[in-house]
Amino acid sequence: MKVLSFFLIFFLFLPLSSLKGDDSGIQNKITKNLRCLVCQGQSIYDSDSEFANSLKILVDKKIDEGLTEAQIYEYFENKYGEWILYDPKLNKNTYILWLMPLLIFLLGGAIILGKLKKKQN
C-alpha cells in the first residue's frame, strides 16, 4: 500500500515539475536567440543591461500569456527589426550567408569527384 501511494504521489507531481523545467528551458532558448541591442555582441541571456533585463521580464510575460516561440520572435521583430534575431531569415541581405556554405560544399564535392575520376582513369 505504501509503495502504491508513493508511486501515486510521485506520478502526481511528475508532470508539474517537468512542466516547470520546460518553461525555463524555453525562456533560456528564446533569450539566447535575441540580440542585446545596446550591448556589444551579447545575447539577452548573457547580458545584464537594463534593456536585457526588461526584455527577459517581457519574454517571461509573453510565455505566460501563452505565446509560442515563433510568435515571441515575431513580436520582437515587429518592435526592433530583424537585427534582434540571431537566426536571420533568407532574404536579399542574407542570401550570401545562407548560400555560401552550400556553394563551398558543392565545389569541394566537385573537386573530390574530379580527383577520384582522375585516379580511376
Partner: protein, 172 residues
Amino acid sequence: MKNKLLPFSFVVVFGVIFYVFYKGLKDSSIYTPDLRVNNDIPVFNSKNFHSGKSVESSSIFELDKMYLLNIWSSWCVPCRQEHPLLMSLNSRTNIKIIGMNYKDNLKNAEEFLKELGNPYKDIFIDLDGTIAIEWGAYGVPESFLIYNNKIIKKYIGPLNEVSVNEMELLIK
C-alpha cells in the same frame, strides 16, 4: 576543358568573396537601427506618477492631437541635459508632453522635477522597463512624436536644438 573549369570556378568564388568583403569595407560598422515609424502606439496599462492610480494608454493619447512621449529617469544624466529643451518646448508650443518614468525611484524622480521643472502634462510609471520595450525603445532618454495614435518620429538619445527645431516644424 576540365583543367580550365577548376581554376575558373576558383577565380569566380574568390572574386565573389573579395567583392563582398570589399563592399563591407565601405559600410559603416556602427549599427543604426531602422526606426520603425508610422506604427500604431502600443496598448498598455500603467500607473499614474502623481496619483498612483492605474491608467490605460487609450486615456492618455487622444486622436487628432500631437503628443511627445519622453522616456526619462532621475538617474539618467542625458535626461538632465535635455530637460531645459523640454521645458522651453512646453512653454513655446501647444504640444502635449507625456513622460514615461523609467525604472526610477519615485522620491528621486519627484525631486528631479522639483529642481528642474515639470514640462509633462501627464506622467506614467514604467517600473520594470517592459512598457519601454513595448514602445520599441532602447533605453533612456528617448522621445516619440505621436499623432493620431501613430508614432511619426522617434528620437533615440537626448533631444538637441536640431531635433527640437525639426519637431517645431512638424507641429506646424
